[in-house]
Amino acid sequence: MSDASGTALANVFREEWPLLIGAAMRIVGDLQTAEDVVQETVLTALDRWPLQGVPDRPGAWLMTACRNRARNVVRDSGRVRRAIASMPLSAAEPHPGDADPASGSGMIGDDRLRLIALCCHPALTADAQVALTLRMVCGLTTEEIARGCHLPTTAVAQRIVRAKRVLRECDAAFVTDEPDVRARLSAILDVIYLVFNEGYLAAAGEALTRGDLAFEAYRLACLVTELIASEPEPCALRALIAFQLSRWATRTSEEGAILTLDQQDRTKWNQELIADGARALNRARAGEAGPLLLQAELAACHSTAASFDATDWHAIVAIYDRLLQVQDTPVVAMNRAVAVAMRDGPGNALPLLDRLAKDPALAASHRVWAVRADLHRRLGDRAAATADYERALKLVANQAERQYLETALRGMAERFPEQDNKRKAETDVAR
């Protein structure tokens, strides 16, 4: 089997996975059993395909095998009557909504959407929603999720087991109509955003990024925008993720060091993702200017600027002003201060940062100190910059960011050798 056919097969499995879980769920009515059925179906393919050959329509083969097994499980466990009574729709036959997910019939048109909505059940914590979505919808193994989230495998396994138990205890079933899904839309988008953030900027660990999770989040965002085509907010999230991912390849050097926007090679930015982001952003603009849309607008300003010098900082500050009106958080205020520094110079942003550094929510993070250090550096205040860099280094957990800060700190000595000598002399005198 060639690499290409292996990749094609991986895509088939990936696309089919949530559909299989959904189909099994509709028959067996329980997430754990549904997962076992799909697991067994995939293992059967693993037994048979290498010997008999990959079927012409592997997706159809998997679906048929999955449904048959699910029915056998229901029959064998003697739960036929209960299962039939709880089944809102025919398990095997397509229902009217299948043909057109956005038909507006009031019924959810796709098992994958039902599955995402189930994984984002309000009875679950955000962490559990993320883990369950990655397992059930994206098909990642517990170990892969643990690696992606930098957690022990046992912790993730417990999270998933507990989440399934909670769903079973509260008798959670597939929601069947769009209003129910719309009620969970906010949680669904939050989960996708969390997955993306976890993948895009690792909170801890060696590498700055964990690509698989970030791209899984993009795939989920695409899926949701296709399944709920009439809603603008998922489009905003898709745009935001697409713009951010377009810079993926250029965010770090070959050695793994962070490259800031002004250092990145814009010719290597992914133009397909930028185009997809622009399309999604246009669709999102039909809705209200919520936090996701405004963040997508910000990302678009960066992704579509011809060069760093051509970045429209006036527009960016204006968008941050609007964002602060709908999402008044210290992090947004800090990012706005960075934009103000770019537009009006570091001296004008420093008072804003001084105020923010007193905010307990920000003071515990390395970012505010790193940003203030950079402003001091640009203003030529070496002592203040050094103090802030050192403070940031005490708090940073990500290895790539630590390296960036250390490099910046070392750069101070090269840039201001006279101050270094003066301080050395003062130290000598003091001794």
């Binding site: 089997m1 056919s5 292996g6 990749t7 097969l9 991986a10 088939v12 499995f13 990936r14 089919e16 996975w17 076992d36 697991q39 067994e40 995939v42 293992l43 059967t44 393919a45 693993l46 037994d47 048979r48 395909w49 290498p50 010997l51 008999q52 990959v54 098909g139 990642l140 193994t141 517990t142 170990e143 892969e144």
Partner: protein, 104 residues
């Protein structure tokens, strides 16, 4: 050459897989079976209709002896994740692999 029956079993719920892992495993296993066929070592295979007992796949292979069959079994186990048993079908009693010949 002698014939051996390799029994590949998997306990229910013993392994967690993902789309990517499954695709990788199928690719690797397909390649391995192709090599067996090309070398004339795979005589037949059988896939049980019901895998409730844990038995998933049976292969009839040709090997120069028990040792060679065990080596193939170990490779199959490594690639598939099965628990593999080796059953001599005919005339493997003498075999350590070296200099063993088929009898008529």
């Amino acid at each position: 050459m002698s014939e051996f029956l390799l029994l590949g079993a998997r306990q229910p719920g013993s392994a967690e897989t993902s789309p990517r892992l499954a695709a990788n495993d199928i690719s690797a296993l397909t390649t391995w079976h192709q090599h067996l066929r090309r070398w004339g070592l795979l005589r037949a295979f059988a896939l049980p209709q019901d895998s409730a007992s844990g038995l998933r796949v049976c292969l009839v292979i040709r090997a120069s002896g028990q040792l060679a069959a065990s080596r193939l079994a170990e490779e199959w186990r490594r690639r598939s994740g099965y628990e593999v048993s080796v059953v001599p079908l005919c005339d493997a009693s003498q075999g350590t692999g070296e200099g063993h010949r088929d009898r008529p």
